[in-house]
């Protein structure tokens, strides 16, 4: 094999990107409280210790509620926005869609601070509902991007054909459009869920005394003794993220295959 400069660069790049993540499971199963080489032995004790912490249960419950709600809301808004932008023309369409997609590139810190100031000024109590609010904001652009590609690949004459065959606009949506974009919807739900589950800054700023998983993990890092069990939790989260994103990609590709269009690139 030829080792050109570019090849070396690629390998270094990938090592830098993924090696730290590989350390998570390594130390999660290492029989030592100290995170350092050499490894001393195999254990699953950290997983048991992790689960024994009741604070984790609460954080997990909060995270699941937040991520599910954010995923459903963001996807619902995404369906409306994607349908509108792919099928209709309206004044200032480009500008409006730009604003919808803006949170994608807006620093999360800015979003979190701005929301916090507004919510406090309005006298809203911080809770998991305020986290959901923030997460919907950052998940919606992802949902719109995924769903736009699903709606875009839908041949307009399919709708006209259903309408021509006697269906109403509503039943056409239910019988034709929805089944054909369903893979996109599932994909959008899963990706929004994953983004919300991993998100830290907004959850930290807007959560009040409610912690999500990410905030819980950050808190636990203050105690060196807790680090191995956090490694265990991290291992589980990495696996979960990979599984969810793989399922999302599977559905996205199936959707493209169904509508018989070419793949124009997704998130994986």
């Amino acid at each position: 094999m030829k080792f050109s400069g570019l090849r070396l660069y690629t390998i270094l790049y990938l090592v830098f990107l993924y090696a730290p993540i590989l350390l998570l499971p390594l130390f999660a199963f290492n029989d030592s409280k100290v995170i350092a080489f050499p490894l001393s032995g195999f254990t699953t004790a950290w997983f048991a210790e992790m689960w024994a912490d009741t604070q984790l249960h609460n954080a997990l419950k909060n995270s699941l509620i937040v991520a599910s709600s954010a995923a459903i809301l963001a996807t619902t808004f995404g369906v409306f926005a994607a349908r509108a932008s792919t099928r209709f023309n309206f004044p200032y369409k480009a500008g409006i869609m730009g604003l919808v997609m803006l949170p994608l590139v807006l620093p999360e810190m800015i979003v979190a601070m701005a929301l916090l100031i507004v919510l406090l000024a309005m006298g809203v109590n911080l809770s998991i509902f305020t986290i959901i609010l923030g997460h919907v904001l950052i998940c919606t652009p992802f949902a719109v991007a995924i769903l736009s590609s699903a709606f875009q690949s839908l041949d307009k004459s399919l709708e006209e054909a259903a309408y021509d065959l006697g269906e109403t606009p509503l039943s056409t949506f239910r019988l034709i459009i929805l089944p054909l974009v369903m893979p996109g919807i599932v994909s959008s739900l899963l990706i929004s869920f994953t983004i919300s589950l991993d998100e830290f800054i907004i959850a930290f700023f807007l959560g009040g005394n409610q912690t999500t998983l990410s905030v819980y993990i950050f808190g636990q890092f203050r105690f060196p003794a807790k680090v191995p069990s956090i490694m265990a939790l991290g291992t589980i989260l990495v696996l979960l993220s990979i599984v969810l994103l793989s399922i999302a990609e599977f559905f996205r590709r199936r959707g493209l295959a169904r509508s018989g269009t070419k793949d124009t690139g997704g998130f994986l």
Partner: protein, 369 residues
């Protein structure tokens, strides 16, 4: 072309001064026409001429800006597409990819509340009609282009519409398949007796399939006639050019009286034309006579002209296998015109420069003025 006669002459579709604007763009400019019940009618024209827009106003997918569209005597302005007695075969076929062939074909019957058995029987009948017997359980996305076409036909015809609308249904098929489907569509139309309205940009397809054809340019119907009249007596140079090939020669009108037009044309000399040989309205432009390439015939040794005869020089020869095209310069003419000859076994293809006798007939000339 379908056999004439035996057709009820009632009107199925009527357009009365239909206009359609897209913003400033005037897509339909005063369409007035009638389409008879049970006929195979084609809207023929180049892309952007408004033929598809006109078809979609019948389906109800496009509203009109002014005028009236009547379907079977009823003004359909307030009738939405899903309530109109029309069904459409789309250019992309619009087969629902997530359903089976059976579910696609039976889609429109869902609302009729048929029993499972009755529904299955109707679907099977429709599939058999289009030559897809036994394909019901197939997934729609696994079909070939020709099969999709047939599913789309079965799906539209199963509802027994008063009018079947076909939006360039054959344009995506290869030549062989297209010719086969043309024949099948004609057979199907005779079998079901439903009014078929076909949109096409292919003049040959329109000539082959239609009882009558409306030739459209820039949002207007230029000529509406049966295929033979369109071909033999086009009412403008534009129509003549769009349908087949026509040679044009400058001419001058000498006199006109009693349905007789006396014309002087280069190469042909002085000829008398009947009134129906000048089907177009006078435009005030330079007068021309036109003739189709096959109306002039090269006379070989021993052959006699049945009407007129003149001498010509062959300037170019294009051999097509079954046909040969000759560019010939008739004596007295400034430039060459194209004529076509069917090749007959044992008869030579003539060389460039050959002097030959040509048979022609004043009856084949069309006058444009």
């Amino acid at each position: 072309m379908a056999a004439p006669g035996a057709r009820p002459a009632q009107t199925m579709i009527e357009f009365r001064d239909v206009h359609k604007y897209y913003g400033d763009y005037h897509a339909l400019r005063g369409i007035t026409a009638t389409i008879r019940a049970g006929e195979f009618f084609s809207l023929l024209g180049p892309s952007g001429c408004g033929k598809t827009t006109l078809l979609r106003t019948i389906a109800g997918f496009e509203g009109i800006s002014s005028g009236v569209v009547l379907i079977d005597g009823k003004d359909v302005a307030a009738v939405p597409a899903n309530k109109r007695p029309t069904n459409m075969v789309f250019q992309s076929y619009a087969i629902f990819p997530h359903l089976t062939v059976e579910q696609n074909v039976g889609f429109g019957l869902r609302r009729e509340g048929l029993s499972k058995e009755a529904l299955a029987a109707r679907v099977a009948e429709a599939l058999e009609m289009v030559g897809l017997k036994g394909y019901g359980a197939r997934a729609a996305h696994a079909l070939s282009g020709g099969q999709r076409q047939r599913v789309a036909l079965a799906r539209a015809l199963i509802l027994k519409p008063k009018v079947l609308l076909l939006d360039e249904p054959l344009s995506a098929l290869d030549k062989k398949m297209r010719e086969q489907m043309q024949v099948e569509l004609i057979r199907l139309q005779r079998q079901v007796g439903i009014t078929f309205i076909l949109v096409t940009h292919d003049q040959e397809e329109a000539l082959v399939m239609s009882d009558r054809i409306a030739v459209m340019f820039e949002g207007e119907i230029a000529q509406l006639a049966d295929p033979e009249t369109l071909y033999r007596r086009p009412n403008s140079k534009k129509v003549a050019d769009f349908i087949g090939t026509m040679n044009f020669l400058p001419a001058s009108i000498l006199s006109e009286s009693d349905g007789q037009i006396e014309v002087e044309a280069k190469g042909f000399g002085r000829v008398t034309l009947a009134a129906d040989q000048a089907p177009g309205a006078a435009t005030g432009g330079e007068a021309m006579v036109g003739f189709r390439p096959e109306t002039l015939t090269i006379l070989f040794d021993g052959q006699q002209a049945t009407d007129r005869e003149t001498m010509a020089t062959i300037e170019e020869v294009v051999y097509y296998g079954d046909m040969t095209y000759y560019d010939v310069k008739l004596d007295g003419m400034d430039s060459a015109t194209r004529i076509s000859m069917r090749n007959v076994f044992g008869r030579p293809v003539l060389d460039i420069g050959t002097r030959t006798r040509i048979a022609w007939s004043p009856g084949a000339l069309v006058l444009f003025r």
